[in-house]
């Protein structure tokens, strides 16, 4: 059986944002810390978590819209960013050994992203803020075509724009209109058309349906699925709504305060989650079925998410976790495989019921 190829891979990805202070007192928002995962070609990886958990930052950092502060990003087998601080890895996670038998360190790499921007695209969360109000829809979609010189002449450019709008269910007369003339769902379609303009292989979908009404949300989710089937796209689908993510994703990763805490096949994750945070997240979702809702027992986590400026030592969930003990405060739990393709980071997996 041939292995399915990884299209995108991140290893030990870290993103710290400076937050004031000087010298030794310099402080950082630890938005993403030591996150590793791989996305296979043609699949959808969902990323869920509460606001401020770093899921959006992860998406933007792996596109290098923010320069990572540490870690390695690999796209289609080529390293596009490497901080040079971590040993190179085989695809199974074991370090590659050099001639002297020592793990081989990666070289510092930061490639020019322009050619990769044609392959990696993003759809932003807020369709009201991510479209320039002074550009027509045609120009918004056409901008990428101009930058990458994808059209020989004006007519070809125009044809391309109209074809793209048709792909997302808009028609040619929409090209001359401005963003304010559209509803939220239509604007999100424009955002998708813009991402598709360069014929990408990989799209980061950053909460693309969160700002939409439920009835419109389903239209856009279906469109993402259709486009994936027709064009063989790979998605990183970021959202806080676990029901939507479960619907569209093959695998789901759960983040909490900058860390990936659990990663598994989507059915496995919903049905047999092992991490206490994932469990409480699943139980907290209001179910749109009165009988189930009345009988279900919520696991309500106490308190609020701590500040990423000064996260708890050891396991970051420990301040809210019912299972926490001294070990959780002292040691960062390793992200290890607990079942086939099922990863989790917790010291007390045997005790979690």
């Amino acid at each position: 059986m041939s292995e399915v190829k990884n299209l995108v891979e991140v290893q030990h990805l870290q993103q710290y944002f400076p937050a004031g202070g000087h010298g030794a007192k310099k402080r950082y928002v630890q938005a993403v810390d030591d996150v590793s995962f791989a996305i296979r070609k043609g699949e959808t990886l969902g990323l869920v978590g509460e606001s401020g958990c770093g899921k959006t930052t992860t998406g933007r950092t792996l596109l290098r819209l923010y320069e990572p502060t540490d870690g390695r990003v690999i796209y289609d087998g080529k390293i596009i960013f490497d901080s040079g601080k971590h040993p190179l890895q085989n695809s199974d996670g074991t370090p590659i050994l050099g001639a002297d038998g020592q793990p081989q360190m990666g070289k510092k790499v930061a490639v020019d992203m322009l050619p990769y921007r044609r392959k990696m695209q993003i759809v932003f969360q807020d369709p009201y803020a991510s479209l320039d109000p002074r550009m027509t829809i045609g120009d918004i979609v056409g901008e990428a075509i101009d930058i990458h010189h994808l059209a020989e002449n004006q007519k070809e450019r125009q044809d391309k724009i109209i074809a793209l709008l048709a792909t997302v269910g808009l028609n040619s007369e929409h090209a001359n209109r401005y963003p304010h003339e559209f509803s939220g769902g239509q604007r999100q379609r424009v955002g998708i058309a813009r991402a598709l303009a360069v014929d990408p292989e990989f799209i980061v979908c950053d909460e693309p349906v969160s700002a939409l009404d439920v009835s419109i949300q389903a239209q856009v989710v279906n469109m993402f699925e259709d486009l994936q089937r027709e064009m063989g796209l790979t998605y990183l689908f970021i959202a806080h709504d676990l029901s939507v993510v479960k619907h569209i994703s093959n695998r789901i990763g759960v983040m909490y305060l900058g860390k990936l805490v659990e990663l598994a096949d989507s059915f496995e994750l919903i049905g047999h989650s092992v991490h206490p945070y994932t469990r409480s997240l699943i139980s907290a979702i209001p179910v749109a079925d009165p009988k189930t809702a009345r009988n279900s027992q919520r696991i309500v986590l106490q308190g609020d998410v701590p500040s990423p400026l000064n996260p708890p030592s050891g396991c970051r969930l420990r301040t809210r976790c019912p299972y926490a003990d001294e070990r959780c405060a002292a040691e960062v739990p390793a992200f290890k495989e607990v079942g086939p393709g099922h990863w989790a980071a917790c010291h007390h997996l045997d005790r979690v019921k």
Binding site: E50, S51, S183, G185, Q186, D213, V214, S215, I216, Q217, A218, Q219, V221, N222, E225, H240, L242, S243, V244, K246, H247, F267, I270, S280, L281, I282, S283, A284, I285, P286, V287, A288, D289, P290, K291, T292, A293, R294, R298, V300, L301, D304, V305
Partner: protein
């Protein structure tokens, strides 16, 4: 029989804007008894917030009540003056807004803002009001209330701020609490905390709640009755079980079908409601949902469907019911 706390009859309300008349509410009628929890669901612009605001007289210019009656706790809302409203708000009915970030004043401490409400509505002294404020913060489950009273809104998280909003709303023990999307801006785990708190408080204080939301999951767990709104009409009204298990209106069915189910076994395709929401400036002549309805008939485009009672507690506005009844009647004869 218990007295009706709230009775709305054929309420019509419009906003007179420069672009023309926006009919925000069209013949809205429903009633509530003391202790009821009613959910109002619908998409943005369907009139769910306006319905609730009109009970408190918060639909100021260019909004105008152009017909119908609202009876609340012995008041005739449609005839009340601003001065009378001021007495009623806070004391008998209060509201929690959607966004706790913007509904608290950033330049006053939490304590200040709660005390202000208490002193406006009662003749407690400053000291008594502070003691009451502390009590309220304890009631909504905030730790270290003493310390919180001296803090400013920016020092609190979203969930904490929403707790403060609830504390302010409950300051004078209102009979009716209107919650306008109280958890939309919050994360699911915090949302679960707030919903649990609201249920506890309702059991403790026995108030009625109107829960406005677009999230069917929230109403399923919280409410006993649900009103589904579309384009300023209550298109369907019934108990929670009736709405979820025997939905009558095509829009309600569409809404329920379009949400992804977390416990679904296979990969099913979502069934969206096609088309876009109505433009309230130019509403269609007949049923407002007709342009998006899959079972649209000719009559739907011409005339607004009448109310069809499906049970004592359940009604819906749809021509399909009329057609069904006519067919059944025909067979019986």
């Amino acid at each position: 029989m218990s007295e009706k706390l709230l009775e709305i009859q054929d309420e019509r309300l419009s906003f007179f804007t420069q672009a023309g008349e926006v009919k925000a509410l069209n013949n809205v009628s429903f009633s509530m008894e003391q202790g009821d929890v009613l959910g109002i669901v619908g998409e943005s612009g369907s009139g769910k917030s306006v319905t609730a605001y009109s009970i408190m007289g918060l639909t100021a210019y260019p909004g105008k009540l152009i017909g119908g009656t609202i009876h609340f706790n012995g008041h005739e809302i449609e005839k009340m003056t601003e001065k009378e409203f001021r007495k009623m708000r806070g004391n008998e009915v209060s509201i929690i807004f959607q966004d706790p970030m913007t509904s608290l004043n950033p330049v006053y401490t939490i304590g200040n803002q709660i005390v202000e409400v208490i002193r406006l509505h009662t003749n407690k002294t400053k000291k008594e009001a502070y003691a009451r404020a502390k009590e309220l913060l304890e009631l909504v489950g905030m730790n270290e209330p003493e310390k919180r009273l001296k803090q400013y809104p920016h020092e609190l998280s979203g969930g904490m701020r929403q707790r403060v909003m609830i504390a302010i709303a409950l300051a004078c023990e209102p009979k009716l609490l209107i919650a306008d999307e109280p958890t939309t801006a919050l994360d699911v785990t915090i949302q679960a905390q707030i919903l649990e708190l609201m249920q506890e408080l309702r059991a403790k204080l026995g108030m009625s709640i109107i829960m406005i939301t677009h999230d069917l999951g929230v109403v399923a767990s919280m409410c006993e009755k649900i009103a589904v709104m579309y384009a300023g009409h209550i298109v369907e009204y019934g108990t929670t079980d009736e709405i979820f298990y025997q939905p009558g209106h095509e829009y309600t069915k569409g809404l329920i079908n379009s949400i992804p189910k977390l416990n679904a076994q296979g990969k099913e395709r979502l069934i969206p409601i096609e088309g876009t929401p109505v433009d309230l400036l130019n509403p269609p002549a007949g049923c407002p949902f007709a342009p998006r309805c899959t079972n649209c008939m000719k009559v739907c485009l011409r005339e607004m469907p009448p109310r069809t009672d499906l049970s004592d507690t359940h009604y819906s506005l749809c021509w399909l019911h009329q057609k069904q009844q006519a067919e059944q009647g025909g067979k019986a004869e």
